[in-house]
């Protein structure tokens, strides 16, 4: 059993794929350092991330398979689901074999796995475009904490950079301790570590109250349907919704 162990970055994963090709090895599993627990039977190889090697794999996916596939792989990586690395590896191997028509093989398990995961990530990304709630802080910064299932903060930031381009804002992924920070010109992703609780001014509290009141008034009493509400808006997201607290 051959295990590749990498540092958990996307470049690291691409380096693993590069090494597997040039060492003519077929790894059983590709695991990030954090997730790896020793195994008596396995032979482990630690792969050091190498930008150049990663870049070559990146370009090769883009040119020899398709841009679409590259996106699929990146989204799948962002899902951060254990064991998906090996599926990415299998998917790419198939891709280099048959080229850009890979995404037509909708019944192949390798393609199916990647497409399904990509779809879930995409779905959460779209959902979050709506479910993020900004709170106005005293320093004139709009602050939005959230805990997405997948690592999507970088996927939603461009949307808000365009939409709320004249505001300072922070979208904070509390679970992962990272966030997108925007200063009316550009956004970056950085580590965020917040100790104290946020304090809101009168205006912020007023609008939160207005919104809660609106949320209550807009529901039709004869049609109350909590099951439908929960299936559209899963409860795991309620914690950061102003109207649900």
């Amino acid at each position: 059993m051959l295990y590749y162990i990498y540092d958990g970055s996307f470049d690291g994963l691409l380096t693993c794929i590069y090494e597997a090709y040039y060492r003519k090895e077929i790894p059983e599993k590709i695991v990030s350092k954090e997730d790896y627990q020793g195994n008596l039977l396995s032979r482990e190889i630690h792969i050091d991330t190498n930008d150049e090697k990663a870049k070559r794999v990146y370009d090769s996916i883009k040119n020899k398979i398709s841009k679409q596939s590259l996106e699929n792989v990146f989204y799948t990586y962002l899902a951060e689901i254990p064991d998906l690395e090996i599926w990415i590896y299998k998917y790419l191997k198939l891709g280099w074999k048959i080229g850009r028509s890979i995404d037509l093989n909708l019944t192949d398990d390798r393609v199916l796995k990647i497409h399904k995961t990509r779809l879930s990530v995409d779905r959460e990304r779209h959902r979050m475009l709506g479910l993020i709630r900004f709170r106005l802080l005293d320093e004139n910064i709009y602050y939005a904490p959230f805990e997405p299932q997948f690592n999507i903060v970088g996927l939603i930031a461009p949307h808000f950079a365009e939409r709320l381009s004249d505001q300072n804002w922070i979208i904070h992924d509390v679970k992962r301790g990272i966030g997108a920070v925007y200063n009316k010109e550009e956004w970056i992703i950085r580590d965020i570590d917040l100790k104290k609780d946020m304090e809101y001014g009168d205006e912020e509290i007023r609008y939160q109250k207005l919104w809660k009141e609106y949320f209550k008034s807009i529901a039709i009493k004869n049609r109350i349907n909590p099951r439908l509400q929960k299936s559209n808006m899963p409860m795991k997201y309620w914690r950061y919704l102003v109207e649900k607290n």
Binding site: S101, L104, N105, L106, T107, L112, H126, L129, G130, L131, I132, R133, F134, R135, L136, Y142, A144, H159, F160, E162, R163, L164, S165, D166, Q167, Y207, K209, L210, W211, E213, Y214, F215, S217, I218, A219, I220, K221, N222, R223, I224, N225, P226, R227, L228, Q229, N232, M233, L241, V242, E243
Partner: protein, 436 residues
């Protein structure tokens, strides 16, 4: 009056308007402005009734000069009244938008003083939002029936979508429940908006810069179950609206008993299942290439409660089936129950690389529980031997019930949903499931 109290009253008064979509517009943000539109629309929350909240849906005022029997805001109804000022609406919209509560504004109004006076106020509000506050988010505005043509035209230049609610599907219903309203006064502004939209598309082709006019199109709403109109009346009307007025959407709202009136039906709850069936049929009209007269006719003017409209159609036309998934064209694939637009497209894509079998269809996302009676995969048929209208129909209904049983674990609720099943089919059911 505080904004909070006004919001409470005027959101409450607007909630029976079902339109919530924020799609179809590609309005961009400008430098120094706030907001943009998202082509596919974004839902921002879901209220306790499970309906999505995308736009800040409010009435400008609920003071009304009309006295329509079905409407909660009718003049003779005793309820708290309020009116916003344009500035209040603007501030609410901008502040909600900046916090990502909403995708934009849906502004409607009762008729205050006169149609023109009301339309003027609405126009003033959207103009302020767009010009003074540089708001580029989505705006859906109600065109007030009976208002001056020029007012409606000017408003159309600021907003993304406009709508005029027909509410009652027939002239007869209108006469009984809203005697002050004339059919013409509703149809006229709709026609006006449609022709302006077309003119605008033409202008955009001719000139380099042409201001857009209602880029996300026009919609309307029909009440289901307040009058004696059957499903066929409603669906034929929708079809005509889609075809002749090129509407983007027709919304349906199950009549909610909010008033008692000799001309109104007395029901305990809104006819939700009926509304659901009409929505299903509406989708069939818009995306699946069906015609209203294929789904309903004089002998069956209403939809089956037990089976969805597509299944009903397929069962009635059982002689067309089964079809071979690996060969049949897209249009026919769409007509197979259990295959939707997405799975039809996936089938077309996937069969370019290999022939599909039954297992493959499951992976692709076809609902085989329904589809199996109508398809063959590589020539093999997985349905039932006896391909007759009534047997297939019965199997389909049984399929639905079994699923419900597992989910709810309560037989009683199922039979209250499908009461017509119990009597004529009691014997058959014991035979098929053995345990009932």
């Amino acid at each position: 009056m505080e904004t909070l109290d006004k919001l409470k009253i005027l959101a409450d008064a607007a909630k029976y308007d079902v339109s919530c979509s924020s799609s179809g517009s590609t309005r961009k943000n400008k430098k120094g402005g706030v907001g943009n539109a998202h082509t596919s629309g974004i839902c921002h929350s879901w209220s306790d009734d499970g309906r999505c909240i995308s736009l800040l849906k409010i009435l400008f005022t609920n003071y009304c000069i009309y006295d329509c029997a079905y409407c909660v805001n009718r003049a003779t109804n005793d309820l708290p009244r309020a009116a916003f000022t344009p500035d209040e609406v603007v501030k609410l919209t901008i502040n909600f938008y900046r916090r990502n509560y909403i995708e934009g504004l849906f502004l409607s109004s009762a008729i205050y003083k006169s149609p023109n006076y009301t339309m003027e106020l609405l126009l003033q509000t959207v103009k302020k939002l767009r010009e003074e506050w540089k708001f580029n988010g989505y705006i859906h505005l109600k065109a007030i029936p009976g208002a001056d043509q020029t007012l409606i035209e000017r408003a159309g230049e600021y907003v993304d979508r406009m709508s005029v609610n027909i509410e009652l599907p027939s002239t007869n219903g209108l006469r009984l429940l809203a005697p002050q309203k004339k059919r013409e006064s509703i149809i006229k502004p709709m026609g006006l908006i449609t022709s302006k939209i077309f003119q605008n598309i033409e202008n955009k082709r001719k000139f380099k810069f042409s201001p857009s006019f209602v880029p996300a199109g026009q919609s309307t709403q029909l009440i289901v179950g307040a009058t004696r109109d059957n499903d066929m009346n409603i669906l034929t009307l929708s079809e005509a609206l889609y075809k002749q007025f090129k509407l983007k959407r027709v919304y349906y709202s199950a009549y909610i008993p909010i008033a008692s009136h000799p001309n109104l039906p007395s029901i305990s709850g809104p006819p939700l299942l009926r509304e659901h069936r009409i929505y299903q049929a509406d989708w069939l009209l818009r995306f699946y290439g069906f015609k209203a007269k294929e789904l309903l006719d004089i002998e069956n003017p209403n939809f089956d409660e037990d089976l969805d409209p597509k299944c009903c159609w397929a069962v009635r036309n059982i002689h067309l089936f089964p079809v071979e998934v690996n060969r049949v064209d897209y249009q026919m694939l769409l007509r197979v129950p259990g295959i939707g637009m997405k799975s039809a497209k996936r089938i077309i894509t996937a069969r370019r690389s290999s022939n599909l079998n039954y297992e493959d269809l499951k992976k692709i996302g076809v609902v085989l529980k329904r589809a199996k009676y109508f398809i063959t995969c590589k020539g093999k048929f997985y349905g039932i031997k006896d391909m007759r209208e009534d047997t297939v129909k019965r199997s389909l209904i049984m399929g639905n019930i079994k699923r419900k049983n597992i989910n709810d674990g309560e037989q009683l609720t199922i039979f209250s949903l499908y009461p017509s099943l119990i009597l004529p089919m009691e014997e058959n059911m014991t035979k098929i499931t053995g345990e009932l």
